[in-house]
Amino acid sequence: MPMLPRQDGEFVVVSCGMLGYGFLETSLERAVAVGLDLIAVDAGSTDPGPYYLGSGKPFCSDAMVRRDLELLLDAQIESGAKLVIGSAGGAGSDVHLEHTLGLLRDCIARRGRPRTLAVISSEMRKDELRAALRDGRITAFETPGLPSEDDIEQASHVVAQIGVEPIAAALTGTDADIVVSGRAWDPANIAALPVTRGYDRGLSVHAGKILECGALAAEPVGGADLLLGRIRAGDFIVEPCTEDRACTVESVAAHTMYEKTDPVLLPGPGGTSDLRGTRFEALDGRRVRVSGTRHIHDPVYRVKLEGARLAGYRNLVIGGIRDPAMIARIDSIQAGVVERIGRVLAPRIRPGQYSIKFHRYGIDGVMGRLEPVKATPHEVGLLVDVVGETEAIAAAAAGAARSLLLHWSFPGRVATAGNIALPFSPAEIPAGAVYEFNIYHLMELPDPAARFTWRLEAAA
């Protein structure tokens, strides 16, 4: 059964939750048949951790991003809708943005259909961050305290999550077919265009919040599928693009809870979405109508900053323990091994130059100190995670950990040939650079569209 065509007064948007996850081609075809105003694509998140922002590496493979981009580009050409891509490359730094633009230019060239691009960088300069810190315009967010000047200096990239305004400025100030931005607040990719066309900001942003993960707000949950929204004068409707999924009041309400601490007051750049008066109603078996969400304007405009720095280099040892006496004494053996490593590496390598973490699968590998179950398993998977200042330091500490664990002597030991089953030769696995979030703060920014300006590019 085809989806209902676009009705008078509706703003129709189809949303892809992650560029490069591989949505269903048929879902996009069905959405195009409805009549689209906007194709919105979120291409990034902090969820996969700090590595992508820190290293500048893209989150999804080029092959998958090309695949999705080609389909989205065809849909843009066919429908005449605007295509808005936010958080390019996974983390949205300038390196990520350029990488995504490179792939997009290739796709456009192959199609032979020249497109106008508006490009918005959201990478922050160190000097402006230092100035903002000194002026008191950087404030704490979900961690206590402010970043230091060293944090700013050490971060390999710092990006701001841009909001509705810079994307809206690019859409109204140019005739670009496609807007590609660095790090963007996920709902902004969806909300910017309807807001410029006079649709209510509270509803547009809330629609963005539900749609930004694609079919995660449908049943069965689909991380890679598309979701369609119809924003209207006093409400919006969400619906899946496939016959085998449905949006229900439960699925949409559940997604409103997702990945946030407060599902009722949702702060973002420029204001807060107030869901205290929101109503979710089933229109039929597969569509949900949402109304009553309000935008509360924030008199102080703030963007969220995200920064990551190099934490060191990782070297892993993976092994299994089956000996009950070893398992029974694992805590004291670990402590003994760490202490001995410190002694054998000194004085060339100091303990402050590396860290050793034991992930003990079967005991508390998943939850660590939060694990309430205190059981003694018959087998333990041990992952020794060593992070050193240099690859050589990490390799030295991991090698020492492996040999000491293998041959550690303890009371009641009968298996004197070795304590751990190592599945690989070599046992140590260099795992590359490790990054950590070191800036996750808010910054006051009076005129976001002036700071995050667009540049036009003719791609042919």
Binding site: T46, D47, P48, G49, P50, Y51, E142, T143, E250, A253, A254, T256, M257, Y258, E259, K260, T261, D262, P263, V264, L275, T278, F280, A311, G312, S355, K357, H359, G365, V366, M367, G368, R369, L370, E371, P372, V373, D385, V387, V434, Y435, E436, F437, Y440
Partner: protein, 104 residues
């Protein structure tokens, strides 16, 4: 009749809410179950804190949300997502201690 959270919920999950916080969602089967669990009084900030070996003031928020027939609470991560020593980058496997808590 006594029942565990597992028996009366459709969703029990954990996830990052940003890199520094784990957030937990317990979504009950329907509005009547939501009301019954709330009324029964077994599930509160102290119970979930105890399930993770935390003190109640380490639970950042604990709220009943009628629109989703759900309870949501959050705790601070000991290690930020993907940082040195983290064990769950997405925070998606921290929910299990909730499954057997008493609901009714």
């Amino acid at each position: 009749m006594a029942a565990t959270l597992r028996e009366v919920s459709r969703v029990i999950r954990s996830k990052n809410a940003g890199p520094f916080i784990f957030t937990f969602d317990i979504m009950f089967r329907d509005a009547a179950t939501f009301a019954a669990v709330r009324e029964a009084g077994h599930l509160d900030r102290a119970t979930v804190a105890r399930a993770y070996g935390l003190s109640p003031n380490e639970v950042l928020s604990f709220e009943w949300h009628g629109f989703a027939n759900a309870v949501k609470f959050s705790i601070r991560r000991e290690v930020a997502s993907g940082g040195v020593g983290d064990s769950d980058v997405y925070g998606a496997q921290q929910h299990a201690p909730l499954l057997e808590l008493q609901a009714l």
